[in-house]
Symmetry: C2
Amino acid sequence: MPQLKGDERLPRYQRLADVLRQEISQGARSPGDRVPSENELSEQYGLAPGTARQAVAQLVAEGVLERFHGKGTYVRKPSFDHALLRFFRFRGLNREGSGPQSRILGREIAHLPDAAAEGLQLEAGTPAIHMSRLRLFDDSPVLVEEIWLPLALFRPLLELPVEDFGPLLYPLYEDCCDQVIAYADEELTAEAADQTTAELLGIAPGAPVIVIERLSHGFDDTALEWRRSWGRADQFHYHTRIR
Amino acid sequence: MPQLKGDERLPRYQRLADVLRQEISQGARSPGDRVPSENELSEQYGLAPGTARQAVAQLVAEGVLERFHGKGTYVRKPSFDHALLRFFRFRGLNREGSGPQSRILGREIAHLPDAAAEGLQLEAGTPAIHMSRLRLFDDSPVLVEEIWLPLALFRPLLELPVEDFGPLLYPLYEDCCDQVIAYADEELTAEAADQTTAELLGIAPGAPVIVIERLSHGFDDTALEWRRSWGRADQFHYHTRIR
DNA sequence: AAGTGGTCTAGACCACGTG
DNA sequence: ACGTGGTCTAGACCACTTC
């Protein structure tokens, strides 16, 4: 019978949750996998069913697992590459245009700027992968992105032709570099568009743009990707509930 | 022994949670009040302790109640009048300046504009209370607010001298009109500042400003206050975690 | 029919805050 | 010392999905 690892003083449901979280972050369980049922977990670890249930409940609350009544519990597939676009309102969906698109403007090895280095916890000036991307909706540009990735983890990405990249990067990270994004922190601000941003977005220089800094993490909290995006403010809206 | 009201088919912990939520929305329990302990609730309603616990847990998750280990469970005091200011980063706190301040620029009865009317679910053009407010931090303006309140609920507010308003409005609503704000929905956008906004905020016309529309609700979901605020984008930052 | 999560019971002991 | 919430046990029955 496997023993619970970790600090003895911690509650058992915490320790079980930690075990599962770590198994996920180390790739022993991947997004989409089924995790053992609550009964199996309780038997395997010698816990009451309610205790195993509590561990699962916590991971569900954290967004790591997903329950399906009668089916089982699964490692959640994070699907937030749409998140940025979710912030924007789009004039009529399903028009003649072609929905969300992505155009890679550049990819090269470059020296990490300060902000990206701080997020990725590397030395500023370290060589890293840098990509520029333009995202469009219905053929009209909505977002310019500057993306930075640690060279050590994402080197295989340099081998792929950019034409094969497709509209979403995170599945690519998983396929070609075995790096799974679990969650990301975003920070929003607004600025006046500079010349080049304005040109790319098709707006006047000085027009307001939303600036979004995103730091993406793996399941084990490693910082994997830093990006800064500039979006058309006239199409941006963001909703929150506060209490 | 009180019986659980509501749909018989609903789980009991749900029905208990509904009872408590309704008691709060109807003023039988007010923010800051202690609610009965889990043991008391389970005895009063003839439930197992675990079931009462589950009801409380749900309300805690919703932000309606707050638990304090060893002390008890309390109706949460929504304290989000700071929320707007929380979105802004301030150059050194505790400087010579005087922290957050509030200046009422105007208060009168006026006809509801469309956006406010839609939020408050009243006819556009209905007479309502309108207030303009400037919020400052360390004597420097950060936010201009336009506030609309239903006349029927907030009439006593017109009697008070604006000099006595103080920096926070929600406690005032509670004290003078018995209206308690439970939660609010906010929608963020960015715009270029128009002439008057720019002057009030001390920025150049056309400079980017954050626009925040807020609709505040009571515990029973009644729309109580609609406001639109314009904030200096250069001091705005907003953080989210996405999954 | 079998297996899963969802609800519920009726207790136990522990950790924390207050008097 | 007492009452609170926090953890945990060892079951029960139900609702849902799949075969």
